[in-house]
Symmetry: C2
Subunit: 379 residues, 2 copies
């Protein structure tokens, strides 16, 4: 067994023995590495706090079975030792934990189903969250925002719930964009049942993500724990509709605690489903946004023609108009040949060929055998 | 002729000879008093800037005729020398002018029709402004806010225009509350013509106010000049609906420049008539409000039972309930004897006598020969 396989097996075991978030176990694994940590947990040879977190299930050693069961469902366990691990966005959890915010322990690993590499999907990603009991107004806006973000190449994260979540995923899917569902149950659990097809579709083109082992049933506390992942994995969170005590406000305040951009859409003052959004804006916890342009401007990103940020905040602002069009034609997910970039950008292929090395030098593009790929550039 | 009559006559003349705002003339009147200033303007014996402001009309000496014409319409000229003059709120104009904000010259006097004393109407007053081309949603909210403010004893100021203005006045009237229309034409000019009955009704129970002499026709520039009075005479301005380039945004930014509280109501993101409100909130120029409770909380007032401010923002929040009632019974404009304060506050006169020195120590009240006066304390 390779070292990486041993680590994956160890983390598969650890994900099952402690209910996330498990701050003591996370620290223990950070100190001794997953393989040693797993062995010592098995033997109950660990500090009292780690023992507390793992005592109830440390005999549940289903690591191999979980990996096999997941593989049968085309699900992989992505671990911090993998290239795909979204280390940078998850760092916000460790920082918040260090500042004393409770419940922010980073995940020990993530079960992922879908063709999108998690580390790439988080680039410039936006979370769209909101009430399950959304109104037609809210679902319409969630679908619109999901569609227009995705069609500009911005990955759309949500929680696959009824209402706003489902509308946001569907909007992104209908734009053939990237969408990621982060679940409060096993990645193989079709919950809510009426969203089974939606979850399958997301898994076909985007990713379904969970830190819970296969078969884990949904539970209220798991949705709250899951919310920290949605907030952490994205650049900003948009609350489309939320009642005064909605779980979406929990995601929003978590995003704020993680230093992420929190946004909310307004609605009619008479709508209880907009009351949570209005409260977030009124109390200065969220910035009011009414359109994808405003979302991108607030999150400090471009993404597209049509967006006219009042203040240039993106690295790509430095690019000339032709370079920008070629950059827009690049994909972070798949390498594209120069001919395709020329066709998509409407710029002659000779000119594309001379612009690409410049983009590469500036860190905006990278060359591969199959063509050119957009570099996941931080602003 | 009494001194006061001479001053009134002089200001009646001066209001007609210069188109407001007339900063040089206002300064000249401040320096020499209205009687001397009027004489010198008549003779063109004044500094060049004052001459520029008055040259075109200084021969238009209709002072007596204007006063008679107004009196026939039950309209009086309220001048700074009157007890009724709203000196404190208008001070914000002088302060802004001193800080170099243009177009903020205070009015030389105000034509007023209606039973409400202007100096009293401005106490805790709220301006409700918005688009003429309002939607049903906007008009409904303006009427609701007007009604509920007025029924809690908060005077409602607006501009008597179509749309939001008219709905706000009507809402206040239907609560039998105080409402004040500030016009961009003569107080006797029924504009818009379809609001003739509305203006008459406001004049019967509230006040119709203008700095323009009787018969002055409405003009676009006069509405903008008038906006500074709506902003200055009130504690805060609520923009109910506004397009991106609405005149209501002008009132809002004037209110902001005057240090007043600026508020805006949200609406559907798809509504162009809410776009101006959303922009004000998004850009941090206005606080989002969805209800009268939130308006009162934001404007920093109790005003009424039912309002539950989440954060104490007013200096007087530190006062105990009895001290607060005595404080509320004080007037900034005129000194009141202890007996009157006892009667108004419903607190025994002995207790009032012991509370007043405490209020004085904290800077909330000041003693004079005629009794006690409220100190104009800024929060």
């Amino acid at each position: 067994m390779s070292e990486l396989e041993a680590e994956r097996l160890a983390r598969s075991y650890l994900l099952r023995v402690a209910e996330p978030p498990a701050p003591a176990l996370a620290g223990f694994v950070g100190e001794f590495g997953p393989v040693v940590a797993a062995e010592r947990v098995r033997r109950a040879d660990c500090p009292p706090k780690v023992r507390d977190e793992t005592a109830a299930r440390r005999a549940h050693d289903y690591a191999e079975r979980d990996l096999e069961r997941a593989a049968a469902d085309e699900t992989r366990l992505v671990i911090p030792e993998d290239d795909e691990w979204p280390a940078w966005p998850l760092l916000s959890l460790a920082v918040a934990q260090g500042r004393g915010v409770s419940g922010m322990a980073p995940p020990l690993a993530l079960w992922v189903r879908g063709p999108v590499k998690l580390g790439e999907a988080v680039d410039q990603a936006i979370a769209i969250v909101g009430a399950r009991a959304a109104t037609g107004y809210g679902e319409h806006n969630a679908a619109e925002v999901g569609y227009h973000l995705a069609s500009r190449g911005i990955p759309v994260f949500s929680g696959a719930a009824f209402g706003i979540d489902g509308a946001a995923h569907r909007g992104a899917l209908s734009a053939d964009g990237t969408t990621v569902a982060v679940l409060g149950c096993g990645a193989d659990v079709e919950y809510p049942a009426q969203h089974a097809t939606l979850l399958r579709n997301i898994g076909k083109v985007g990713a379904v993500v969970s830190e819970y082992p296969p078969g884990t049933t949904p539970a209220r506390h798991r949705f709250l724990v899951r919310n920290r992942l949605i907030a952490a994995l994205t650049e900003g969170t948009v609350v489309v509709e939320a009642g005064r005590r909605s779980g979406a406000r929990n995601t929003a305040s978590t995003a704020g605690a993680l230093g992420k951009v929190v946004m909310a859409m307004p609605g009619p003052v008479s709508s209880g489903m907009s009351a949570g959004c209005h409260a977030l804006i009124r109390e200065g916890e969220a910035t009011l946004v009414t359109s994808v342009d405003e979302i991108l401007e607030t999150a400090g990103r471009f993404g597209a023609e049509g967006a006219e940020p009042s203040k240039p905040r993106r690295r790509t602002d430095r690019l000339g108009p032709e370079a920008l069009r070629v950059h827009d034609a690049l994909s972070t997910r798949s390498a594209r040949p120069e001919e395709r970039l020329a066709a998509e950008s409407g710029i002659p292929v000779e000119r594309v060929r001379s612009l690409l090395p410049e983009l590469e030098l500036d860190g905006f593009a990278e060359r591969s055998d199959a063509g050119w790929r957009k570099r996941a550039a931080k602003t």
